[in-house]
């Protein structure tokens, strides 16, 4: 059993840290305030291979795997959780899914442009009536000749405004078991009848777009079906394992940022003639935060390692996402508390970490959904 990262991964970590410090951190607060998507940073990130982390080299990716991706997302998210989720969705939900399930033709057609970042990816599963009950989705896909015509909508789609490639789950048939009858499609935003609906006003991760997608007689070529007709739900579930590791990594990054900020402030802030780090109450908060972060980190690394080995990672992905997100929200709450009144202002980054943290317990499987999945597996 080895706990240390390989030299290659340590080098990646260093590279990402440098990149983050130089390119991502400086304007993260401003992007949050303005709700501004970082197009220029994505370009620089793609040059470093950050948009093709799990895509084979022959398609222009760097093929470093899930543990590498986790390290990337964690480090990026430390500075900017919005960019963290943008990259996570793009890599794990789109890049990995297309790599794993695509035909050679589909991979040749799209992967190089996904790896280069020319096409940002988005993943459209959720609907207004299909959140935790994802199988309840109702976006219709009706076969018409060599196309499927899509009618309906999707909700809360990350990267929706900027994406050039959407993986969309639609219903091709009504079945007794709702998860059957779902098919996975590759959709380009240029297809007729595709449009963006409402853009959500979110509490945090404000430098990513979260939008409604509208499909009005939208024709998708049959050759854009990923996998088989009626077998799309399986792909969704496969993708979510990776997505959960991704969001877990994002949560971990936010939590680490909270600890870093809290340590710094506790050492600098003086009250009662001493740094507040001298008080046991503060010390205990820091010690507990650090412990929880390490526990979450180990779960995430194991989940990523299992996925890289091609082993069943669903249970660990659930554990990792559950733990990391819950640690993250607590860490952010304590970070604001440690900063006192100043933590409630935009002078310090912790109020942004607080707002960003909260979504991690909700998307890519709520804390409740992952408990359901995990319990089912434990009991079977």
């Amino acid at each position: 059993m080895r706990f240390e990262l390989s030299e290659e991964l340590m080098l990646l970590q260093e590279t990402v840290k440098s990149f983050t410090t130089a390119e991502v951190a400086p304007k993260a607060a401003e992007r949050d305030r303005k709700g501004e998507f970082p197009h220029d940073i994505l370009k620089a990130a793609s040059d470093l291979g950050f948009l093709g982390m799990t895509i084979p080299e022959k398609y222009g990716g760097v093929e470093m795997g899930n543990l590498a991706l986790s390290l990337l997302i964690e480090e990026i998210s430390r500075a900017d959780a919005s960019l963290g989720v943008t990259l996570s969705v793009h890599n794990s939900l789109i890049g990995s899914t297309l790599t794993h399930h695509g035909t050679d033709e589909q991979k040749e057609k799209y992967l190089p442009r996904v790896a280069s970042g020319e096409l940002l990816g988005a993943y459209a599963l959720t609907e207004s009536n299909a959140g935790t009950d994802a199988a309840n989705l109702g976006l219709k896909a009706e076969k018409k000749g060599d196309h499927y015509v899509l009618n309906g909508s999707k909700l809360f789609i990350t990267n929706g405004l900027e994406a050039g490639l959407f993986i969309v789950f639609a219903r091709t048939s009504q079945e007794d078991k709702k998860s059957r009858g779902v098919t996975c499609f590759l959709v380009e935003p240029s297809y007729s009848g595709f449009s963006i609906g409402t853009e959500e006003e979110k509490m945090g991760i404000r430098a990513t777009s979260t939008v409604e997608l509208l499909f009005d007689e939208c024709p998708v070529p049959a050759e854009n079906i990923l996998g088989e007709v009626g077998k799309g739900f399986r792909i969704a579930m496969w993708a979510l394992d990776g997505g959960r590791i991704g969001v877990g990594s994002q949560a971990l990054g936010i939590a680490q940022a909270c600890l870093d900020a809290s340590l710094k402030y506790a050492k600098e802030r003086e009250q009662f003639n001493r740094p507040i780090a001298a008080f046991q109450a503060i010390q205990w908060k820091l010690a507990e935060m650090a412990t929880e972060i390490e526990a979450a980190r180990l779960l995430i690394r194991k989940a990523a390692w299992l996925r890289d080995k091609g082993l069943d990672c669903t249970s660990f992905a659930c554990m990792a996402k559950m733990k990391a997100s819950e640690v993250c929200v607590n860490a952010a709450d304590e970070a604001v508390q440690i900063h006192g009144g100043a933590g409630y202002t935009k002078e310090f980054p912790v109020e942004r970490y607080f707002r960003d943290s909260r979504i991690t317990k909700i998307y890519e499987g709520t804390s409740e959904a992952v408990r359901m999945v995990l319990a089912r597996r434990l009991l079977s």
Binding site: Q271, G341, Y344, I362
Partner: protein
């Protein structure tokens, strides 16, 4: 919990006002950092801005339970509006009414109680947060004037206050016994108010920074004697803690209201999500915490009304209510799923607003210090 007829009536009146006049503005004032001037004017008309001040001094002559309930019901729909009232009364209007001389009361309380303008309390400084005794603002006596120099931060109602209570050091080197409290008028020369920083929550509540540069305060505006300031503001905070406890309680209740409504309406897996045990149990836990907090807050208020010591109970109330408000509002977001993260569904604002309550008017850590010290003496 037994309420008098008047107390029950106040709940009904304020609840109606809150639903009709306050809630419709809540999202916008939070989003755009807008102070709800019209709402405050209406609250003045209703007598809320002097609710627990005697009619002789321009107030409504109701008791502290009525005040507590008013803050709770406002907080139930809009934390910012509740906070505005709580700071105005507990931190300025009431302390002058309770601790100042008859002349000072007659001069300053009626305008505040009638809501001609708001009141504010300038205690906190960049180097005096939890360590309130670390005050650095100084007041030097020169004839029949005190000359004030220093600054205050995070002062609720600052930009809309006509009257301030300001703490300053009148004698250096003797710690808290050298701190005095003054009534300071807005148009004092050398006194500047700046808008405060953008906030995480309570964004419809006005807060600011106060700057004093050789500002002359008439000597007759000293409250009590020199060196009595610290004790006075400790007593002020005791009352203030009940009001923040009430505010947190209201925020928690409002979050539960919304979560319950959503859980009954939202269908997933072919049934309302309230039918899912995990959701049902969350609601049960939230409700239990709120009821417990209500008991603590109301108990502190009752003791105050009865003239009994209530410092310990106000610390319990503020600490417990604010902490459960964080838990309850977070669960309310969780119950709403993705919608809970968006502005339209309110609950994310409740969570951000609740966070002020574990910090302002004495952090949870300070409350625990107060409680532990009291226990140690028993």
């Amino acid at each position: 919990m037994q309420l008098t007829e008047e107390q029950a009536m106040i709940r009904e009146t304020v609840r109606k006002f809150a639903l009709e006049e306050v809630e419709p503005l809540a999202i916008e004032i939070d989003r755009d950092h807008i102070f709800p001037e019209k709402t405050v004017a209406k609250m003045a008309e209703m007598g809320l801005l002097g609710i627990n001040i005697s009619q002789e001094f321009g107030g409504a002559g109701m008791d502290d339970m009525c005040y507590t309930i008013a803050v709770e019901e406002l907080g139930r729909v809009c934390g910012s509006t509740g906070l505005t009232l709580a700071a105005h009364i507990s931190l300025c209007t009431y302390p002058i009414y309770a601790f100042a001389s008859d002349e000072q009361k007659r001069k300053y309380v009626p305008d505040l109680a009638k809501g001609r303008f708001l009141g504010a309390f300038g205690l906190t400084e960049p180097n005096a947060g939890s360590d309130a005794g670390g005050t650095q603002t100084v007041a030097v006596k020169k004839g029949d004037t005190y000359v004030l120099n220093g600054s205050k931060i995070f002062i609720t109602n600052a930009q809309h206050a006509g009257t301030f209570i300001i703490t300053a050091v009148t004698e250096k080197g003797i710690g808290t016994r050298g701190i005095s409290a003054f009534i300071v008028e807005r148009d004092t020369p050398g006194f500047k108010v700046n808008k405060g920083d953008e906030k995480l929550g309570m964004r419809g509540s006005d807060w600011g920074e106060l700057y004093f540069e050789d500002a002359p305060i008439p000597a007759e505006n000293l409250i009590g004697k020199e060196g009595e300031g610290f004790k006075m503001f400790m007593k002020t905070l005791d009352g203030g803690r009940i009001s923040i406890g009430a505010l947190a309680l209201g925020i928690a209740q409002g979050a539960l209201d919304k979560a319950l409504k959503y859980a009954k309406e939202r269908v997933q897996f072919d049934e309302a999500i309230i039918e899912q045990q995990a959701i049902a149990f969350k609601l049960a836990e939230m409700s239990t915490k709120i009821v417990a907090a209500r008991h603590l807050v109301y108990d502190a208020a009752r003791r105050k009304i009865a003239g009994e010591p209530f410092s310990l109970q106000s610390a319990y109330a503020k600490y417990f209510a604010s902490e459960i408000a964080m838990e309850v509002t977070s669960e309310a977001i969780q119950i709403h799923g993705g919608y809970g993260y968006t502005r339209d569904y309110h609950v994310e604002r409740y969570w951000r607003d609740a966070k002020l309550c574990t910090i302002g008017e004495g952090t949870s850590e300070i409350q625990k210090l107060v409680i532990a010290r009291t226990l140690a003496k028993m």
